[in-house]
Amino acid sequence: MNAVLDAWQAALAAEHAAIAGYDVLGPRLADASQVTLARDSQQAHRELRDATSARLIAAGQSPVPAAADYPLPFPVTDPAAAQRFAIKLESACAAAWRYLISVADASSRSVRTDAQQALTDSALRAMRWRRLVTPTRATVAFPGIQQ
């Protein structure tokens, strides 16, 4: 059960990181539709963060808090870098939720259902960003493994 709780908390930590990341990349976007995509994506992560925190509390756990700082993997100084960063954030979330599915046992049905939805939602957002960066390769075969 500890592996499941650890993975659940890691998924929440990834959601915190995504929320912070969109704060960084949003102002670097120029196109209005991309700004809207960033806002909608960040809001979806906020809602998932809140729902996940509530479920962890209901399970008797203390949800991990957001970190004080999130170092950037590369400079996010222009729209192209912002789009690549968004793909990275969504891929990290997808990987965290996929990992939770891999360690959850058969009795953790509702956790797994939520994780599947979160994995799919991050895969969809990553695809929307990837369409802007590499339009002919907008999808990946294995969300949660590939970026």
């Binding site: 997808a94 996929r98 990992y99 599915i101 891999s102 959850a104 046992d105 058969a106 049905r109 797994r112 259902t113 994780a115 599947q116 994995l119 799919t120 991050s122 895969a123 969809l124 990553a126 695809m127 929307r128 369409r131 002919t136 390769r137 907008a138 999808t139 990946v140 075969a141 294995f142 969300p143 949660g144 493994i145």
Partner: protein, 150 residues
Amino acid sequence: MITRRALLGTGLVVAAGGIGAAVAGLQPRRRPPAPPAAPRQLSDALAREQSLVANVDAALAARPELRQVRDDHAAHAAALRQAITRYPAPAPPLVSAAPPPAAGTTAQLRAGELAAARAAAAESAALTGADAALLASISASEATHAELLT
């Protein structure tokens, strides 16, 4: 006369464990348990992926932008084939996989992707570990295909 097969069928061998232990030296050697077969969910998903590859292939000439979708399905099939070979016994005969609708139009392709995403999620929920994670990821990939085909 009660045969050993009949005893195994009724579970009496377990119930009579104490007696069995006392006469263990007289019991014939038990066969080792059969190796686990690959879960049917994996073979069902493999059959579905092969159908999806064929459907996208049929549409590819008119819509070359579907190449990535086709490659994703081929990768899904390869990964499922590899997952099945990790089990010592083959998967049971295919009986439950529902083939996706014959695809021609974009709407039909989209419907096939949505149905495949739902089926893979259900198959993932029925399994655990690496197999569950593989099918969960395949389900998410197919959801992205469906949105791409909107």
